[in-house]
């Protein structure tokens, strides 16, 4: 009876089972699975970057080779001087992204400050109004925006594209800014006010240092949205010299070199377009994760 009791006592068995997991065969299985998944996720990027270093002839080989036999920068050289030249497209993409970051921060830092710290009449209603873009996808607004931009002569300008990218990012940025201003202890501000600081000085001296993580998050997501965005750019840019990187790559897809798409050049463009995204991801991973999580439940 007592022997049976100890045998069937559930607590130790359950515990044993839990401890058996990491050490036993299951752990090897999990490890192998993780490795396979990592390989599957990395493979497309790896073969694309590798293909960008193939020679012109190898990049056009049928069937394609997995990895370059000889490393060459041919593709990058062709991309460098493709039409208006890579520097132009990099400037357009980076310029739009920087403008987007600046407009976004310029609008949402003061707005977050106002929403968190000032007794504004109808504040919640105004807050909801600022989140308006959440209820309507920007894809649906491009038709009227295109007309408006044509009237204002904002088509084919980096500023025009940056305005659309900012409009996409406003709800997320406002939400992040308001929360982050509200999280700053009021005592800090009160001390500064007693010392005779104006609201503007309080914003600059007390709040800006305190909300740095929010500034990084908002800037990061503004950059990623702007750098990667395709449809709005396609709609408002129709002059080759003002194309952003994704646009010129899409155009190059149809371009023929020797009887077909110049695949090597396309890969070199893809590689260059991906580099800043992956770089910022590696450097700022925690901002990404927290941004995505708070963005998802906004």
């Amino acid at each position: 009876m007592s022997a049976e009791d100890t045998l069937v006592r559930p607590a130790p068995r359950g515990k044993d089972a839990a401890q058996a997991m990491p050490g036993g065969r299951a752990a090897y299985l999990v490890g192998a699975l993780c490795m396979v998944i990592i390989a599957i996720m990395i493979a497309p990027l790896l073969v694309s970057v590798a293909a960008s270093f193939k020679t012109t002839a190898e990049a056009a080989a049928i069937p394609p080779t997995w990895f370059p036999h000889v490393l060459s920068l041919d593709s990058y050289e062709r991309l460098w001087s493709y039409q208006d030249g890579l520097p132009t497209y990099l400037f357009n993409s980076a310029g739009t992204a920087v403008l987007t970051i600046l407009i976004c921060l310029g609008l949402t830092i003061p707005a977050g400050y106002a929403l968190a710290r000032f007794p504004i009449p109808g504040k919640e209603l105004l807050f909801v109004f600022l989140l308006l873009a959440l209820i309507i996808p920007y894809q649906a607004l491009l038709t009227p925006l295109f007309f408006m931009f044509a009237e204002l002569r904002l088509t084919n300008t980096l500023a025009g594209l940056a305005i659309i990218h900012t409009a996409i990012q406003i709800p997320f940025s406002i939400y992040i800014m308001r929360n982050s201003f509200e999280a700053v202890p009021r005592e800090l501000e009160e001390a500064a006010v007693i010392d005779g600081c104006s609201s503007w000085q309080v914003l600059l001296r007390i709040y800006l240092p305190a909300i740095r993580p929010a500034i990084v998050t908002v800037a990061l997501f503004a950059f990623i949205t702007s750098w990667n965005e395709f449809l709005a750019a396609l709609v408002i840019m129709n002059k080759g010299s003002i194309f952003t990187l994704p646009l010129v790559l899409a155009a190059a897809r149809q371009e023929t070199s020797i009887g077909g798409t110049d695949w090597g050049m396309l890969q070199s463009g893809i590689t260059i377009a991906i580099i800043p995204c992956v770089l910022f991801y590696v450097l700022l991973q925690k901002y990404y994760v927290s941004g995505f999580l708070s963005g998802a439940v906004k």
Binding site: K15, C34, I38, A111, A114, R117, L134, I135, P137, Q139
Partner: protein, 292 residues
């Protein structure tokens, strides 16, 4: 009294630029869209009032229905694939061990790159002569000769696109699932283990019910994202064959920009916006509950 009025004014002043921006670049275009949809509107000629003719035209437009049908079909297929894959991945990587953290980080990488760029990448991988997908399939003996992925069969093209998009966005769902799973109190699982529940029993009885809201949230994200699909089809299938894979946004794009039928494009946009709005309202209600 004076101080508080001053504070109100200062606050409004700080808020004004953002309000003005949203008014001009979001609220006004919404109104303009509705107004345009009631006109025959091109940039070249002055707009002409046509009442509901644009909506009637959509009703009778075969391509409108083809596009909507295809978009819904795409949404209906990709959403379960994304949810199941993302959830299984999350279950695998939820414990905080170094290898699993690395897996989590790697699965998330495609989320941060551009959809346009990833579509071009997969356009190459799936290309007939030059693509490594066909090379792999032929080498492994799965198919005797290369497969025509795009331009021949709409269904085959859709699955090629779905493959690329799952690769691109599965990390997003996984991240939300991992966060939800990690917020389940440890004691709940421990108590179930004490009772001798197996791993899959615990997943079914504890993890799934306690993360159900996140599952719904991610489902809605996937639905909204898929209903707005454009880049991947524009760049990979170009709508072919016979515009069978031209999504709703694709059809709006074609009407508004290359064809410059802005009035009709606005009407189509409004219809799509209403469909998306219904989804968004559901998502927000859900998010509020999840957060509370």
């Amino acid at each position: 009294m004076y101080a508080s009025r001053r504070a109100r004014l200062t606050g409004l002043l700080y808020l004004a630029p953002a309000l003005l921006f949203v008014l001009v670049f979001t609220a006004w275009p919404m109104v303009q869209m509705a107004w345009m949809s009631l006109h025959s509107w091109s940039i070249i000629e002055p707009p002409k009032w046509v009442g509901l003719a644009n909506y009637l035209r959509a009703w009778n437009d075969r391509q409108f229905w083809t596009s909507l049908g295809f978009t819904l079909e795409y949404t209906a297929w990709i959403t379960p694939v994304l949810i199941v894959t993302g959830y299984l991945l999350a279950l695998l990587v939820v414990p905080n061990t170094p290898l699993r953290k690395l897996t989590r980080a790697v699965v998330f990488v495609p989320v941060v790159i551009g959809l346009g760029v990833s579509s071009l990448l997969w356009y190459w991988l799936f290309s007939y002569d030059f693509g490594l997908v066909n090379r792999a399939l032929v080498d492994l003996g799965v198919v005797a000769k290369p497969v025509v992925w795009f331009g021949e069969d709409a269904n085959r093209a859709m699955w090629a696109v779905i493959t690329s998009i799952v690769w691109k966005v599965v990390g997003f769902g996984m991240l939300l699932f991992v966060a939800a799973m990690q917020s389940i109190p440890q004691e709940v699982n421990e108590a179930a283990m004490v009772d001798g529940a197996s791993y899959w029993q615990r997943v079914r009885r504890i993890t799934l019910p306690l993360t159900a809201r996140t599952v719904l949230l991610v489902t809605l994200f996937s639905i909204i994202g898929s209903l707005l699909a454009f880049d991947q089809f524009y760049l990979m299938t170009a709508g072919q064959p016979f515009n069978k894979t031209a999504t709703s946004v694709f059809w709006i794009y074609l009407n508004s920009f290359p064809y410059l039928k802005l009035g009709y494009g606005a009407a189509l946009s409004l219809v799509l916006a209403v469909i998306i709005l219904l989804m968004t309202v559901a998502q927000m209600a859900l998010a509020r509950k999840t957060h509370a």
